[in-house]
């Protein structure tokens, strides 16, 4: 299969800029696959592909509304996960009353013992970062 470079416009005012690449056997398949590999999260308003080594840019046939879909995709966004921890605790409590356990307690985070080789290594790393 051939490598196709994928380009996108964030807004109508932008130029096409490179966003990544895909493998596809030909132009039609490249246009079909690039839409979902690079624009399914509403990353832009238009996209195009170019066979690596060629000069011709081929613009995707789908209207900007269709990049990322029109129906409810809220589960794809980070904010859809807000409050998941609190909800999990709430559900766990409710189910515990029925004698059900859906989530075992997490093992405690293991901290390196003070003075150990691991702790010294961590200190060194943190000093380097600073």
């Amino acid at each position: 299969m051939e490598v196709w470079d994928v380009f996108g416009k964030r807004t109508d005012r932008d130029e096409f800029t490179w966003v990544g690449s895909i493998l596809a056997p030909d132009l039609e398949m490249a246009l079909v696959l690039a839409k979902e590999t690079h624009f399914r999260h509403k990353e832009g308003v238009a996209y195009a592909v170019r066979r690596r080594g060629d000069h011709e840019l081929h613009v995707g046939p789908y209207d900007h509304d269709l990049l990322g879909g029109l129906t409810d995709r809220s589960y794809r966004r980070q904010e859809a996960y807000a409050g998941v921890g609190a909800r999990l605790r709430e559900v766990s409590r409710a189910l515990a009353e029925q004698g059900l356990v859906i989530d075992r307690p997490r093992p405690p985070v293991r901290r390196a013992a003070p003075g150990s080789e691991r702790a010294a290594h961590r200190e060194q790393e943190e000093a380097g970062r600073g």
């Binding site: 895909i22 696959l33 839409k35 979902e36 209207d63 269709l66 879909g69 129906t71 995709r73 559900v91």
Partner: protein
């Protein structure tokens, strides 16, 4: 407006098709032929689930049911689902999967085009919205269909042909008449009867298969008669399960002959394979009744 039960059956038929085939498509996630296709097919699966959700929500908002979208999608017994059997069949290989996706999405696009002029305004709007996304599904299915049918690999062509042979009889079941359909048509809720849609779909499918020299799939289906194997491969006794119309080549095109007999998916009659799918799909929901996530 038509009888609420008939309208609910219409919505559930559409939504359950999308939910169940979406679930089957999602089983390819991580297993599709290569990474780019894995993402594309997973996205199509998500589109189908989103369409099901939209239709379940419409059923609730129209006052046709008290159940919310989760309860409709996951809280019913197997015989309460109204999807066509085609949607519930196991994925098999990629040849069968593409054959089924092609047959399903061309049929789905056709019925959504019809529903976009429904007298039920909210349904017409939902159909127009879904139709925009379905364009990509049809493009995807056609792109793969062409490459498997006409590409350099005889194995790929053979697998597609086997898939088409296995799926085409079930695909006719997408057009099984709905209980209450006459009233839905009379009131413009369903602008075209299923039989009318079947005739158009079959003619277009016939032309596509002829162009790829794969119309022998329809010839073989015609020769095999109207018996439909169940999930276990047994041939049901007459009247036990859905028997779709026959197909014949007449006056230069493929047409159906006769009507549907026996209950199919639209009347809650499913294959054995559906029970395993249903158990997996609804397991978590059933394990924690009433839990809010």
């Amino acid at each position: 407006m038509a009888d609420p039960d008939a309208r609910l059956t219409l919505l559930l038929s559409l939504a359950d098709d999308e939910l169940v085939i979406g679930h089957r498509h999602s089983q390819w996630t991580g297993w599709a032929p290569y990474l780019e296709e894995d993402l594309a097919f997973s996205s199509i699966a998500q589109d189908e689930l989103a369409h099901a959700r939209l239709l379940y929500r419409l059923a609730r908002e129209a006052g046709l049911t008290d159940r919310d979208e989760d309860a409709l999608a996951l809280g019913r017994e197997p015989h309460e689902y109204r999807n066509a059997v085609l949607c519930e069949r196991p994925n098999g290989d990629w040849g069968y999967t593409i054959a089924r996706q092609y047959l399903y999405d061309t049929a789905d696009a056709l019925r959504l085009q019809a529903l976009s002029s429904s007298s039920w305004r909210e349904l017409a709007e939902a159909a127009r919205l879904m139709l925009l996304e379905e364009r990509y599904h049809v493009d995807h299915a056609r792109a793969w269909f062409d490459r498997l049918a006409n590409g350099p690999s005889l194995t790929a062509r053979g697998r597609l042909a086997q898939g088409l042979s296995a799926a085409v009889g079930d695909a006719l079941g997408l057009f099984e008449p709905l209980p209450g359909e006459e009233e839905l048509v009379a009131q413009g809720v369903l602008p075209r009867p299923n039989e009318d849609l079947l005739a158009q779909w079959l003619e277009e499918l016939g032309r596509t298969l002829e162009a790829a020299s794969l119309d022998y799939v329809l010839e073989r289906h015609a020769e095999a008669g109207e018996m439909v194997p169940t999930g276990s491969g047994e041939i049901p006794e007459a009247g036990e399960a859905l028997s779709p119309p026959g197909v014949v080549y007449r006056d230069g095109r493929w047409v159906h002959e006769g009507g549907f007999t026996g209950p199919g998916g639209r009347r809650g009659r499913h294959s054995e394979e559906f029970v395993a799918l249903w158990e997996e799909m609804t397991g978590l929901y059933r394990a924690h009744p009433g839990a809010r996530w």
